[in-house]
Symmetry: C2
Subunit: 566 residues, 2 copies
């Protein structure tokens, strides 16, 4: 690491027709799974390595990680990963990817600590090459020099990246907001950003998550004020606050308020205990002596003298708050006097789950508060415009978000004066060639999601998912038969077994009729001298399928199994 400010400026001022490639391998037209490769000559450096949570149609899938075929095909070029911050959608795929491609990883202190925790769980912390970077430091990765610039987000130690390339400077905002009064640490280093802009910024990749929202995102501190009001109003109740496990600053504010109102604090939920533990170890959170107590000591204090900070603000069925709401939490029982603060807004898709938890808590008589108890970690329109105004990039590449967010991001870039033809919306897998004079998509590489299911990585694909989809809608009927070798005479069966189809006990007539249909189909085959088993199976499948559709308007998966008996 070296301070290259001066050299850089000289370089940026010179004209060059060198071309650098930008290759997003994930994170576009989706929320999550952020990973973008930057390539020049024999050097590739990668920004972030996140996972995505499965969408509703990815039945049974635990996680989705990026397809890094392109990086593996060019593994000698890959110099390392630069990580912007410690959220799952930016670090979550690292344990899986590093097993395939063990290159150095650079990040700020908290980011590295959170990554290390993951690598330990996967038992690869010994071999991984993790490097802590300070704000202002510059890392050399082949032909690239990357400076970590202080920014704000809903987790401490978030960085924007200034990537100095032979073609010019590329600024990647990372996930960001502009918080002039952050709870921990400093505001975003707008001065350094302006400096980089002044020296010449060729292109900017900008967080578009909130690009459809007008105005400014409020400071994290405004939530602290709401907490204060709620605590002041509810001195006779226990207070339970649910928020994102990774929102250390939010937890800090709850602890501050609890301390002010003389309450003991319990942190509950595995992921939150993990993150807060790490943050506390590193000094990213300040817990006054004696404030934090173990959950087993809750009973030693009057309810109204306690606060529980918990996971489950998104209605996740296995998280602590959901377990409390449905009375299966082993240590916390909701009582009618409880006040529950939902300190997050539902991520699209989670609305119903959140609603369910609120209903269950209300049924137990608890009061649920969710107004003014959350601010976003992402920049709204005015902050994004501020970035453009500071960096003054020639080209704009909106990133992070669904297509409509990227479109909104494009609108903002144009609003601050970047010509429409200099704003490019990328898709995952696009190869963008960037030079001083041009920025365009010139190719495409393999990219997409790889499904993780249990210990399996990539062994579940679209065919398996399609099967799961069919099974989930209509169930399965298995038709087992034994045929005599040579004659194809039915020796045993058909045995018809179903799962997820109908109550068999209430449908014996139906099953008897189905059995007759199969018997007839097999007899027809015998009669027509069809001996090919796959053909017999098809005839059985078609006959039964037609019968069931006519009779019930249903379409189960039908699986004939023929056993040969000698």
């Amino acid at each position: 690491m070296e301070n290259t400010n001066k050299k850089r400026r000289g370089r940026a001022a010179k004209k060059s027709n060198k071309k650098v490639k930008i290759i997003p391998l994930g994170g576009l037209e989706q929320i999550g799974m952020n990973i973008t490769a930057f390539e020049y000559d024999d050097s590739i450096m990668v920004v972030d390595c996140g996972l995505a949570f499965p969408s509703d149609d990815m039945l049974g899938i635990d996680l989705v990680i990026p397809d890094i075929t392109y990086l593996k095909d060019n593994y000698l070029k890959v110099k390392g990963f630069c990580i912007t911050h410690g959220h799952e959608d930016h670090i979550g795929a690292l344990p899986y990817i590093l097993k395939q491609l063990n290159v150095p990883v650079y990040g700020t202190r908290l980011t590295c600590a959170l990554i290390e925790k993951k690598l330990k769980e996967h038992q690869i912390d010994d071999t991984a090459k993790l490097h802590i970077v300070k704000y202002g430091d510059t890392v050399s990765l082949g032909d690239f020099k990357v400076e970590f610039v202080k920014t704000n987000h809903s987790i401490a130690d978030a960085a924007s990246l200034a990537i100095f390339t032979p073609a010019g400077t590329i600024f990647h905002t990372g996930d960001f907001k502009v918080d002039y009064t952050p709870v921990f640490g400093d505001p975003a280093d707008l001065g350094r950003m302006a400096e980089i802009g002044k020296a010449g910024c060729l292109a900017m990749l900008s967080d578009s998550t909130n690009a459809t929202r007008p105005g400014f995102t409020m400071s994290e501190r405004t939530v602290g004020k709401t907490f204060d009001l709620i605590f002041a109003e509810h001195r006779d109740s226990r207070i339970i606050v649910a928020t994102f496990a990774s929102n250390v600053d939010r937890v800090q504010q709850i602890i501050n308020t609890a301390y002010k109102y003389d309450r003991k604090v319990v942190v509950e939920g595995r992921s939150m205990v993990n993150v807060i533990g790490t943050a506390a170890e590193l000094g990213y959170i300040d817990i006054p002596e004696g404030t934090l107590i173990d959950i087993d000591h809750l009973k030693d204090y009057p309810l109204e003298k306690t606060v529980i900070i918990t996971t489950g603000s998104q209605g996740e069925s296995m998280a602590a708050l959901s377990r409390m709401a449905s009375s299966i939490h082993r240590k916390v029982e909701i009582v009618p006097e409880d006040v529950i603060i939902m300190s997050s807004t539902p991520i699209p898709g989670n609305e119903k789950a959140v609603s369910k938890v609120i209903n269950e808590l209300s049924m137990k008589g608890a009061e649920v508060i969710f107004q003014d108890t959350h601010v976003s970690g992402h920049a709204c329109q005015e902050e994004i415009k501020l970035m453009y105004s500071l960096l003054k990039p020639k080209f704009a590449l909106p990133v992070h978000g669904e297509y409509r967010h990227l479109m909104a991001g494009k609108g903002l870039a144009e609003a601050v004066g970047i010509p429409s033809e200099n704003v490019l919306i990328m898709s995952s897998g696009d190869v963008v060639e960037l030079s001083e004079d041009s920025c365009k998509i010139t190719g495409h590489v393999e990219a997409g999601g790889v499904f993780v299911d249990g210990l399996g990585v990539g062994d579940v694909g679209n065919i398996v998912l399609r099967d799961r989809q069919s099974l989930s809608q209509n169930g399965i009927i298995i038709v087992a038969m034994s045929l005599e070798h040579g004659t194809n005479r039915l020796l045993s069966g058909p045995d018809i077994v179903s799962r997820g189809f109908v109550y068999v006990r209430e449908s014996t007539d139906l099953m008897n009729e189905a059995s007759a249909v199969v018997r007839e189909a097999v007899a027809d085959c015998l009669h027509a001298r069809i001996t090919d088993w796959s053909k017999i199976k098809n005839v059985v499948r078609d006959s039964l399928s037609e019968f069931l559709w006519k009779r019930m308007k249903r379409n189960p998966v039908i699986l004939p199994i023929i056993m040969e008996i000698h």
Copy 2:
């Protein structure tokens, strides 16, 4: 039908300790499936008979209809249904229920027409007893007299019901809002409501759908103004408006605006064509001559001279707008100049689907507008308070909505001065006994949802759904074996087949190992002289399950099938 105003008032003024029962059989702690029975002595009359759409965990289910065991057990008492309005969640279960219980059905004109359409589809329109009621008319149903009172909602001809019972007057708001300037027909008959309140209202059941929202719901006409602005601004684009099929007034306003800006109108989407057709026949919608054209004639007009009104505003995957967005609509192709107005807000649970459609439309270059293009059909807090102030009921029973909405409804009743102990939150199946002096839950009857899957009603229950859930998460493995009669010697197999588990071709090692595990399990059984097949199946299932969990951390459904060979 007779005018019983005078008699009623006399009756309401007298003291009585007669008890009437209120039995909600659905619609509480859920959205949809509204149905409530009122019982006195030998008379039962039922308000509404709606369906619910399946929740995410009801895999493969098409619809949910109420369990009417209680009505069937008392079928001689049931005098008829009074229907408040023509939405699916109030009429949708009628075709199923009337097949089991063919009693008279009363509703206003449009409501009856929409019901009749449904009955025709189910081919029971000949036998059904459908009666059109005018506002102000009173229907006698055994000991009950029911007056239909004009109210407003997002469909015309919506009624509140004044139910005159031997115990006193019960007012059921139905789904309502207060619209002083409705697009079609008159504002809610607040005068009559006040009169009923003055004569004495014992209890009110009030729509709580929006009870958590402050203020007033805006008039439907405000949406018309937004349409005007959008049409004025986009004179060079085709305009596509997506809204609820049943929102006749919304369609009227789109047609009015189209006519003003000299555009032709196409209505697209089966359910919308149905509803608008019925509304037009009955004169509930006014379409200027020559404005409406067939979709096949779209090509005869310049794009910017047309408007398409379509279903799919909730992102429903098979609806017209979704098909246009994903380029599988046979007659409409989205072009970059198109302007799409989403004239509805996503119903909780549909946010992601709506987002997907917006993304797809944006990718095609279309502009999607969704601000100020919708107003709710349900009353907000101030309107609900207005109802309480007009009716002045002694007891309040919030209905329609999840538990948190009912709780909010309770809060509003208390805010206008109804003592807390006079506000009762019911659950589906509760039996509420109401007299002049008391209103309390005294029992419980069978209630809940019956699943409709294809032509099957009630043949899919929780066990089948649980199976579908397991199948959807992990798939299924079938282990087929032929055993010799008497000896249990393995004659053929084990054949291992899977669906929704892994790519078998890429997992031959795994399948070979699995096969060995099964073989060993069968051999162990033979050795231990276990001859009971269900025991052998259990041993096979357990061995294989353990093997797969250790090896892959997955838990597929395992189904051993044993065939006996003589």
